[in-house]
Every structure is written in structure tokens, then in C-alpha cells.
């Protein structure tokens, strides 16, 4: 059964999530991928205010396709997360609650998640048309010049994801594969 993760995403709630859990997220989620991460981290390092409050935020690594008329968003599945590994620890130390992407993370990111009680979630890579159905609204709030890579504020309802790294440092990419192998001996 899925667990619900509803805005505001306080750290107490995140403690209940375990690697391998399916979750449905409802509330505000910000999008940022490669170029936006670079800019956000540069702003923070220069002492400027980032385009949204990092503390308590969920950042979704995605660059959606343009919305067709009458739709909130185009197709919107996750991009590969390791490209954000060099930026993520700083954001987690500033209180970011969760990251949504796909694929393995570095030990540094894992350690930063544990240190801060944050989680890493995966959405199904390539299921972008399906995932887009859970996005109610999308608004570009920064870096419009980056096109698909601009920062968007999304309102999502029952956005489907799986807990990969929980606040205790468990990694579902390791445990899921192991469980399968043990279960199929």
C-alpha cells in the first residue's frame, strides 16, 4: 500500500518512510535540473537568495516537454540524478526535504541525506505521460531563459514515487536487487 506524503514535508514525516516504500506526494514541488542547480548553488555561494525556500522543499529533477494548450504541463518524467550529486549535499544541508529523480547517488549524497534526515525518491523513468497526470499546475518562477531547464513551481496530487534512499541511509537499488536474488534462489 502506498504511503501519503503531503505538504508541508516536515522531517518527522520523512522518518516514517523506508527504502522500497511506494509514496504518493501531494503539494508543492519545485523542478530543477543541471543548469538550474548550477545557478542556485552559485546564488547561495554568492550570498544571494535562491528562487525558492530550500528548507523543507522537494526538488524534482525534471525538464518537461512544453504543455499543449489547456494542459498544466507536458510530459514530465525524472532525469538521471547523479548529475546533481555535486550540488545536492549543500542543498540538503540547507534543509531540503527530498529529491526526486532516477538512478544511483554518490556516497556524499547518501551521507548528506542521513545527516539531515532527508530522503531520495525515484519516479519511473520514461513514464513521463503517466506522471504528468498528477501535476495540477506548473508555473515558471526562475531562469526562464533555460527553457525546459527553468525552475517551475508545481502543485502535484498523488504523484507516484518510490523511496530509494531513506533517512537511515538504506538504498533500495541495493536491497531491492538483493531481495529479488534471495527470493529467487
Amino acid at each position: 500500500m502506498e504511503k501519503m506524503l503531503v505538504y508541508p514535508y516536515d522531517k518527522e514525516k520523512l522518518k516514517e518512510l523506508k527504502a522500497g516504500d511506494s509514496v504518493l506526494i501531494s503539494g508543492t514541488v519545485y523542478t530543477a535540473r543541471d543548469a538550474a542547480h548550477k545557478r542556485i548553488v552559485e546564488m547561495i555561494e554568492n550570498g544571494e537568495k535562491p528562487p525558492f525556500e530550500i528548507e523543507g522543499s522537494i526538488i524534482y529533477y525534471v525538464g518537461p516537454t512544453p504543455a499543449k494548450p489547456g494542459k498544466a504541463i507536458g510530459s514530465a518524467g525524472p532525469t538521471t540524478s547523479y548529475r546533481m550529486d555535486s550540488y545536492a549535499p549543500l542543498l540538503l544541508d540547507l534543509g531540503q526535504a527530498a529529491m526526486i529523480g532516477k538512478g544511483q547517488r554518490s556516497e556524499e549524497v547518501k551521507a548528506a541525506a542521513v545527516r539531515n534526515g532527508a530522503v531520495y525518491l525515484a519516479a519511473i523513468g520514461g513514464a513521463a505521460a503517466l506522471i504528468a497526470k498528477s501535476v495540477r499546475s506548473a508555473e515558471v518562477i526562475a531562469f526562464e531563459d533555460l527553457g525546459a531547464e527553468a525552475v517551475r513551481k508545481l502543485e502535484v496530487e498523488n504523484f507516484p514515487a518510490v523511496v530509494v534512499i531513506d533517512a537511515y541511509g538504506n538504498d533500495y537499488y541495493e536491497s531491492g536487487r538483493l531481495q529479488y536474488k534471495n527470493g529467487n534462489k
Binding site: 525538464g63 512544453p66 520514461g126 513514464a127 497526470k133 537499488y173 536487487r177
Partner: protein
């Protein structure tokens, strides 16, 4: 000489850009369903059925299967009795990509410089490969290639002594190291032989083969089956959460090579293994 207008080429490329991104080939859809039925891990079968649902939604709503609508890889076979008229064939292809990606609400994912970046804003230029063949037809294959999987591709210049086992281990390791990154289940394209660049090209062209076909050489057909079995014993599974279905297919292309070498390239594609073709 048969004349073909560049306008026809632009139209065909624009239409294929849109269709390739919304309609997954029947052979790929069937293979995914077949794998779901054979999957021995319920969580993995569940993921595969979500992927099938995504395919249905994309087809019915005419929206892209994946937000990464790719770099347009275009393979053109020009019959030697064809005369392309009305302008440059390269510009015609890029105009088609521009039109398809802009009017079709597809994502613009191309930067104009690899290091200095800067989005070109219309997904051009395409990556175009030309081949001259006998006849008076012009065949265009368009394959939008996502980079989540492209980034997991590898090439290695082996010494011949590495032999069959060296090649096979390299291919399996490549998929294992990629893990969840390229959105498994993946399609594995392999190019063996030729030169450095030829191996990579063959690996990419291998991805264009229909799901069901095998290498015409029984030795390599057997290798394709064996590698698929080995990869699907890794336990990575759909999305890397564990399961049998790590790859949908392994396709190998080969070419004669030099006495001193044995190049091997592995081009990984995701389950959104898209391509369309047209013959003008």
C-alpha cells in the same frame, strides 16, 4: 535520375519527429508485455504494467512517451539514382526537426556548444548519417535518442587476445554499471569490429533492428541470446528495483577489423526505444 524535393524530406522528418515520440513501435510494446508476463518478481511486473500504461496514455493523448524527446538521430540511405532538388538535404532535415519539435510540443534538448552550452531553442542540429546505396529510393530513419541511456554507453579498443569472453564480459559489465540510470529495461546495441568510429555507429544502428530479429550469423545470434540471458540474471530489473527484466533485447552488428584490434562499442537505449522510417 529520380528527383526528390527537399520539401518532401522536411515534411517527412517533421512528421516522424512527432510520431516517434508518441507512438512506440508495436514490436517494443509486445516485448514489454511479454516480459511482464514472464517476470518472476511481482514488484517488477507492477513497474512494467505502469510502463505499458504510459505507452497507452502517450498514444491516446498524443503526448510524448518521455520528456526527453532526444537528439534527433537521422539515418539516410540515398539511392545512387536519386537527385535531391530544391536545396540542401542537410538543411531540409534540420528544418524538419525544427518544425516537428516546435509545432509538436517536443522538448528542445540541444545545446550549441558542448562545453560552453546554450540551448539552440529548436532541437537542431540533428545528428545525420548518410549512406549511398543502389536504387532510386531515399530512406529516412529517425530515432530520437535520450541521453539518460546515451550517457551509459561505452567503447573499448580491445587487444585481439581478449577474445570472445573479453567482449561478452565488457557488454554485461556495461549494463551492470549503468544500473538504474538508463531507465531499465534497456535495449543493448553492440558494435564489434571496424574502427573506433565504425564500432560506435554499428552499436547505434543495432538499436534500430526490430525486437524479434536475430543476427544472420548463427554465431552472433547465439551470442545475442546468451548475453540477454546473462543480463537478465543480474537482478537489476525494471527501474533497478530488482527483477528479471533488465534488458528487452541485445543486438550485435559486426564488421571486419584490423589484425591488431577488436573495437567494441555498447550503445544503451531505454525501454522508450523509438524510431520511425519512411521511404521516399
Amino acid at each position: 535520375m529520380r528527383e526528390i524535393s527537399v520539401k518532401k524530406i522536411t515534411e517527412a522528418v517533421a512528421e516522424m519527429s512527432v510520431n516517434a515520440n508518441s507512438f512506440l513501435g508495436e514490436d517494443v510494446c509486445e516485448r514489454i508485455t511479454e516480459c511482464r508476463k514472464k517476470e518472476d518478481w511481482p514488484a517488477a511486473a507492477e513497474i512494467l504494467s505502469k510502463i505499458e500504461e504510459n505507452i497507452r496514455i502517450a498514444r491516446e493523448d498524443l503526448v510524448p512517451l518521455c520528456q526527453d524527446t532526444g537528439m534527433a538521430c537521422v539515418f539516410i540511405e540515398i539511392g545512387q539514382d536519386v537527385h535531391v532538388v530544391g536545396g540542401s538535404i542537410e538543411e531540409a532535415v534540420n528544418e524538419g526537426v525544427r518544425k516537428g519539435y516546435t509545432e509538436g510540443y517536443l522538448r528542445k534538448s540541444i545545446v550549441k556548444d558542448p562545453i560552453r552550452r546554450g540551448n539552440t531553442g529548436d532541437n537542431t542540429p540533428a545528428h545525420i548519417h548518410y549512406e549511398i546505396v543502389p536504387g532510386d529510393r531515399l530512406k529516412i530513419v529517425l530515432a530520437p535518442k535520450g541521453f539518460g541511456s546515451e550517457n551509459m554507453s561505452r567503447i573499448k579498443m580491445f587487444a585481439p587476445a581478449a577474445g570472445e569472453n573479453g567482449v561478452k564480459d565488457f557488454i554485461v559489465n556495461c549494463v551492470e554499471e549503468a544500473g538504474a540510470n538508463p531507465c531499465p529495461p534497456v535495449v543493448v546495441g553492440v558494435g564489434i569490429g571496424g574502427t573506433f568510429d565504425r564500432a560506435a555507429l554499428m552499436a547505434k544502428q543495432a538499436l534500430l533492428r526490430p525486437m524479434k530479429d536475430s543476427n544472420p550469423d548463427p554465431y552472433y545470434a547465439e551470442m545475442e541470446n546468451e548475453l540477454l540471458e546473462r543480463i537478465n540474471s543480474l537482478g537489476i530489473g525494471p527501474q533497478g528495483f530488482g527483477g528479471r527484466t533488465t534488458a528487452l533485447a541485445v543486438k550485435i552488428q559486426t564488421y571486419p577489423t584490423h589484425i591488431a584490434g577488436m573495437p567494441v562499442a555498447v550503445n544503451i537505449n531505454c525501454h522508450v526505444s523509438r524510431h520511425r522510417e519512411v521511404i521516399l
